[in-house]
């Protein structure tokens, strides 16, 4: 169900206080407010819808349990991102340990080859739909191919629209580190995607 509008900052603060006091319906409203943003972020980090759902759920459960310790020094949303980021990075590292030969030839995707939660673009012809799908898969793979520290910053800034300052807080790194990681991430992404464009494997829709 579509929401009427986003919650105001003061609504969020009031709901946080009520949730701290154990009010789960108030917390439910906070989950409603942030679930898509956190899910999208985690999903980009992990490229696996099922793991993304688990991690996003766990992030909210941990947030609820840790709320008494949330003192509002940072905003609720950066605090939430921080919890989600730590959990997502844990999964990435676990994967690295258990799958040292993780291959990009076997992309992590759902059985039908496409993400179930993406809305198909009905305006496109079947051919261009196929090429759009291939292009998106390639972009996802390129993002997954970034080292996790670059991937994190890239997703938060480019796809989630977070500011440098908020990202520095979420990842607990200096502002300069955020900027240099973003710079490196853009360069790497350009390298891998333009290679595919030049080889004619993907197209850029202007």
């Amino acid at each position: 169900m579509a929401k009427a509008r986003e919650l105001s900052q003061s609504d969020v603060e009031a709901l946080v206080e009520r949730s701290k006091a154990g009010d789960r319906r108030a917390f439910g409203l906070l989950v409603d407010e942030y679930k898509d943003r956190i899910y999208n972020y985690v999903s980009r980090m992990l490229n696996d819808p099922h793991e993304a759902e688990d991690v996003t759920q766990e992030a909210f459960l941990r947030a609820y349990r840790s709320l008494p310790r949330f003192r509002g020094a940072s905003s609720f949303h950066t605090w939430l991102y921080r919890i989600a980021s730590n959990l997502a990075i844990d999964v990435v590292r676990k994967r690295k340990r258990s799958e040292p030969t993780y291959s990009l030839d076997e992309p992590l995707e759902s059985e039908d080859g496409e993400y179930d939660r993406e809305i198909p673009d009905s305006n496109l012809s079947p051919e261009s739909r196929t090429s759009t799908r291939e292009t998106r898969l390639a972009v996802r793979r390129a993002i997954m191919d970034l080292p996790e520290k670059l991937r994190d910053v890239m997703i938060l800034y480019e796809l989630q629209g977070e500011t440098y300052e908020d990202i520095a807080e979420i990842l607990d790194v200096p502002l300069g580190t955020v900027k240099s990681r973003l710079f490196n991430a853009r360069n790497r992404l350009k390298g891998s995607l333009m290679e595919l464009v030049q080889a004619g494997e993907i197209e850029v829709e202007q």
Binding site: R24, R44, R186
Partner: protein
Amino acid sequence: MTCEKVQSELVTCWGSTEQLSVTVAEHLDGCETCRAEALMLQRTRLLLTSLPEEEAPDGFTASVLERLEQEGPARSWLESIGNLVIPVRQPQWARVATVGLVLALAVAGGAMWMGQSNQLPDEAQLATTVPVPSQTLMENAELEELLRRHQTFEVTQPLADDMGVGLVMYTSY
């Protein structure tokens, strides 16, 4: 200006030629390599931002709330205060002792407070809405209004268990 420097500036602005300094713009006019670089960056950005946003699956909020419910009764505000008062890394006994003290004081205070209120509002009987006698908290009416406007989950079955603590089921619309 060197190509290296120009290309570094191009990365920072994603190859956009709109807000470049005069020196960089002049360099681009005369340098095919850097123009190609700018184009590649613009294309990379287009590809990146063409990814559609993904949404949390249906019923997400309800299932988070269900899982919280399974973990036990809602955290009381006393417990919350206990957590706030006692540093997290304090040993368990210190936390328990302090919460015990708070509880003892609260029983007296709570009895007085309950005495003043003839009838609790309906939602106060649910564990999800623990009445908190504090002026800094959002009023129940305000919460109800927010829930009416925003909520995508529903409290379907308030069940009272034998300890008088509400067990609640959640579903999504």
